[in-house]
Subunit: 285 residues, 2 copies
């Protein structure tokens, strides 16, 4: 017998992983949650059938969404993480000394429970005393925050279903207000390659550029996401992600990473010409 | 009816493309050759069932294997291209004024014929008067060349089947001898992500490092290759790919590109930590 998980990356492209067994499946109030065991990727989590993370390549996504802003902000003490119930972002954040308070806002409590049980490699630091878990809609949670956070990491799903509100202009405006005067927001920014993903990327970029004085996009190779070419947004009130980055200071922290490094930090912001053009098309002239 | 092409990226990972129709299939003396028509990727060419190029993303591979060395060498006049019967590398090379002679060595004449007929977007410049097509085994062809070329581009298939000889130490040594005193060799260098590809990458790197005084690896996002994370090798007798690169001079050429640009040139050599480690593992200490 062969058991295969398939995700439709577009109506004409399938990505399939051979599965040893299904470890968990349930329908929560918000979405279908599955965990599978595979030879190639170890365990992997899907929400509504979309790949969220695999044990083999989650380090790329979590390092790149976390270390880039942490290496730019000189003293990130108060941090808000939206989504990210799998704990991967929190795991990377808690490796730093600077955070005093990490608010984790996840809409679906069951995601956290499932990840604690089945994905301990990512959920391993959710009990850090600095981490405060809020089961809430990120869009609503942030409305009441003002001038509070040094860093907001938006670890959303795709812009449909439960994650849809995290791609709206209202949400980005609320993030702006929730940040201190030198605050940074980083978000998962979809992909430039397939048409529907590129359109979502352009919509998000247009809205972020309208809210923040500094807005740059950076990239990483994430093999289990559609096309493998994934983007992140870096939006900021004060710090520039490259010119305000101090590679020596970050290197002196002595953190061991498998994807991110100080040289790659700058390079991740050098985008292919066609991606630059897609972004420029939605920036104000 | 649905018709799907599937490539097994590993024994546990499939990548599938919905096909409108098969345009061509034949068994040549060396390999099975197929051309398909698809909605997502336009036409695509496979050899022995492995993806060689699609009309949608071939620009990434061909720009990155061509413009990086062309932007480093100050005056590449004599160029050898091995493999590349699809004409994509030649198309990019012929956009420059400097080449006086481009030798294209392809082992399988039928690949050239098929690409001329079914893939005119890549094969469009094979009739440029500077291009000389040799139907020959690259490994044998290069044995008789000495101090002849400014640039050798090794656009090989994977290191098994007809392309196997293009990954041997003998071949890289012959390339070294065939290059002038400031010559550059660039090769497709497999991928770091899946175990078998990473092993092939390490083997190639070890052999190239042993032959050339300067050897660096650079990367690109190529969605239709396994994991989407693809590498190229830059081996050189004299020029360093980053410090000897003059971005202003290249930009002044006024070439229009969709992936490559002067900023990305430098960044492509900043590799993820795990890739740097894989390479370092096979470099002499």
């Amino acid at each position: 017998m062969e058991l295969w998980f398939t995700e439709r990356h577009t109506p004409y492209v399938n990505f399939s992983i051979k599965v040893e067994r299904q470890l968990y499946t349930a329908q929560s109030e918000f979405q279908r949650i599955d965990v599978f065991e595979s030879r190639e990727f170890g365990r992997f989590l899907t929400l509504d059938g979309y790949m969220m993370l695999t044990e083999k390549d989650e380090f790329i996504y979590h390092e790149m969404i976390t270390h880039i802003p942490m290496a730019v902000h000189p003293n990130p003490e108060n941090i808000l993480v939206i989504g990210a119930g799998d704990g991967g972002v929190v795991r990377e954040l808690t490796r730093y000394q600077s955070p005093k308070c990490i608010d984790l806002v996840e809409i679906d409590e069951l995601v956290i429970e499932v990840c604690r049980k089945y994905l301990p490699k990512t959920a391993c630091r959710l009990d850090d005393p600095r981490v405060h878990i809020h089961i809430a809609d990120g869009l609503k949670f942030i409305r009441s925050c003002e001038n509070k956070y040094d860093l907001i990491i938006v670890d959303s799903t795709d812009p449909f279903g439960p994650g849809e509100g995290l791609f709206t202009k209202e949400f980005y405006g609320s993030c702006y207000n929730a940040l201190r005067e030198d605050g940074i927001m980083v978000n998962q920014h979809e992909s430039p390659f397939y048409a529907a993903d590129a359109a979502a990327m352009q919509r998000a970029h247009k809205r972020i550029v309208e809210c923040f004085p500094i807005s740059r996009v950076y990239q990483a190779h994430i093999p289990t996401y559609p096309s493998g070419h994934w983007l992140f947004g870096f939006a900021s009130k004060k710090y520039h992600p490259v010119t305000d980055f101090n590679p020596t200071a970050w290197t002196l922290l002595g953190l061991s990473t498998r994807y991110y490094n100080a040289k790659l930090h700058r390079s991740a912001f050098s985008l292919p010409t066609y991606v630059e053009e897609l972004l420029r098309d939605v920036e104000p002239q």
